[in-house]
């Protein structure tokens, strides 16, 4: 086994529980979304047909953005904007980002690895690949939960796995963008709490900006939505028109890759002090 694969295997072993629990949680949350969609679909459709817009509808419209429609998949994916779906992805991204270097330095487990003939770029590369695969696994869990749910509940027009995979990919890309920023701070630090705190604070601020500027009361602040990476995550739009998928994913990947490139450069030149 090569050193790279050995490191990947070690990281998978270390994170098997957190990844497994997060994936199971997303699977059932996605399933729950299907159940909720099935339950409310008829009422929402009735309200839309009658031309009324009850308060619950307005909330859903706000969460889904201007492209909100009332197809089954749109209603399902509206729920993918909910923090309970975003949270496992964000926690994974920030957790893996802060662990990439800083936590290993902090607990002294970088020494047994980097004192052997392993390049720093290979080490960091294995961390990034592992975190990326984890994000895709979490996205796949959402798709799997959705597809499993449709077997049990009646839906007007059940979406295909391929269609649901698109917002899942968008979500994974969002997680990757958060991971990239956190990894940069991790690559230059010696304690994990700092990159974790910075990553969490930045993510929270961006989320708050995105939520605020999309409230009707703050319409004038829409231009500030460009400051938030959450602007590039729009699951409802992706499953209805599909126009922004490529752009959003590309933008999020760019946001992720830029700090990752800097992280590689910084990590290859930095001192690695003893954990004591």
């Amino acid at each position: 086994m090569s050193a790279f694969w050995a490191m990947l295997r070690k990281q998978s072993g270390e994170t098997r529980w957190s990844l497994g629990i997060s994936a199971v949680a997303l699977f059932f949350l996605s399933w729950l979304g299907v159940y909720a969609t099935s339950s409310i679909e008829s009422r929402i459709r009735k309200a839309a047909t009658d031309g009324e817009e009850p308060p619950r509808m307005r909330v859903l419209r706000g969460m889904g953005g201007p492209s909100m429609d009332f197809s089954t998949v749109a209603i399902e994916c509206t729920m993918w904007n909910h923090p309970f779906i975003l949270l496992p992805i964000i926690v994974w991204a920030i957790g893996r980002g802060s662990s990439a270097v800083a936590r290993e330095v902090e607990r002294g487990t970088l020494d047994p690895i980097l004192s052997r003939p392993v390049s720093r770029s290979s080490y960091l590369g294995s961390q990034i690949l592992h975190a990326s695969v984890g994000l895709l696994v979490l996205g796949a869990a959402l798709v799997a939960g959705n597809q499993a749910g449709r077997l049990y509940y009646t839906l007007e027009s059940p979406p295909s796995a391929w269609l649901v995979a698109k917002p899942a990919l968008n979500l994974a890309a969002l997680g990757f963008a958060i991971y990239g920023g956190t990894t940069l701070f991790s690559a230059v630090d010696i304690v994990s709490w700092r990159p974790m705190l910075i990553g969490s604070a930045l993510t929270l601020v961006e989320f708050v900006i995105h939520v605020l500027v999309n409230l009707p009361a703050f319409e004038d602040w829409q231009k500030y939505d460009h400051l938030s990476i959450f602007r590039a995550y729009d699951p409802v739009e992706i499953v209805t028109t599909g126009e922004t998928l490529n752009y959003n994913v590309a933008a999020l990947l760019a946001v992720a890759i830029t700090p990752i490139v800097i992280a590689f450069a910084a990590f290859s030149r930095r001192d690695l002090p003893a954990n004591s």
Binding site: S2, A6, G13, G108, S115, P117, P273
Partner: protein, 300 residues
């Protein structure tokens, strides 16, 4: 094999290592002595390319330790002083992982050392091991690695006396096989037993380099009480060096031949005389003993 030239590491105002120039020969056991904060671990981490020198350079087998650290680490196996392992792995899993980072070589030998010599149960999770058992596991891997150089940072710190003796045997075996060993430690008697040369460090400086073979063969201490005032100077050919003077009594260090010394003593009014050897502890105490001033400004 290992050469440092003016090797220096500073962290802002603090100098962790200052102008270290030393050459470690192929096949020797090189002891690094000094208290915590004397620069031993900094030296080792600079050799492994984990730290970037502020000034000077270090090379291993001709490879620059910073710019070609991958090549250096191919030749070196390192046992960290602050040992951390992955608790969720089994003992054999840990050895397999570490061996995989070197292309899978050395695993069989590491398992053999761990099971037969160190008496470890490799099926247990590492988190259930005691500190000493973890150290034994890491030692098994270090001694099994097919490398030219072993760097052992306090390798016996958590071990019981019988395991310490085993480690010293493994160090001797490594030397017999032609490996170069850098042995950093606090237990002077252990370093004294295995080291060919010893470097004593203090506050980031190399303050003394001692050839242990010469020391064992040629160095003796003389405690002489004269009837009258002891001489102020000694003939150069006797190779005498005064360490202490207290009234009519002097403590002398002698590295020369015994014949001329005995003839010279016969011509003096010597009231009493004791001849003994010097252990590493007294040498160490010259730099780190209770009577040494902690003058950091001069050395940093």
């Amino acid at each position: 094999m290992i050469v440092t030239d003016g090797l220096t590491k500073r962290y802002g105002e603090t100098t962790a290592l200052n102008n270290l120039s030393v050459e470690i020969r192929k096949g020797e056991v090189f002891g690094l002595l000094g208290p915590n904060g004397s620069g031993k671990t900094t030296t080792i981490r600079l050799l492994l390319g984990l730290l970037r020198p502020t000034a000077g350079s270090a090379s291993v087998a001709g490879f620059d330790c910073w710019r070609q650290s991958l090549e250096v680490r191919t030749l070196v196996s390192y046992l960290p002083g602050e040992l951390r392992m992955f608790g969720w792995m089994t003992g054999v899993g840990m050895l397999r992982f570490l061996a995989s980072l070197r292309g899978g070589v050395g695993l069989d030998r590491a398992v053999a050392i761990a099971e037969s010599v160190m008496r470890l149960d490799l099926r247990r999770k590492v988190r259930t091991y005691s500190t000493g058992m973890k150290q034994k596991l890491a030692l098994a891997m270090a001694f099994a690695d097919p490398v030219d150089i072993l760097i052992l940072d306090e390798p016996t710190s958590a071990l019981d006396p019988s395991a310490r003796a085993l480690v010293l045997d493994l160090v001797r075996e490594a030397r017999r096989l032609g490996q170069t060993v850098v042995f950093s430690g606090h237990v002077l008697s252990e370093v004294e037993q295995v080291a060919d040369r010893v470097a004593i460090m203090r506050l980031g400086h190399l303050v003394h380099l001692e050839d242990m073979h010469e020391r064992r063969l040629n160095l003796r201490l003389l405690l002489i009480r004269f009837e009258d005032e002891p001489p102020l100077v000694y003939p150069d050919e006797l190779e005498l060096k005064e360490r202490e003077r207290n009234g009519h009594t002097v403590l002398l260090e002698h590295r020369g031949l015994p014949g001329p010394l005995l003839r010279w003593l016969g011509e003096r009014n010597v009231a009493d005389l004791a001849i003994g050897t010097d252990d590493l502890h007294s040498l160490y105490d010259r730099y780190h003993g209770p009577n040494v001033d902690g003058d950091e400004d001069k050395t940093r």
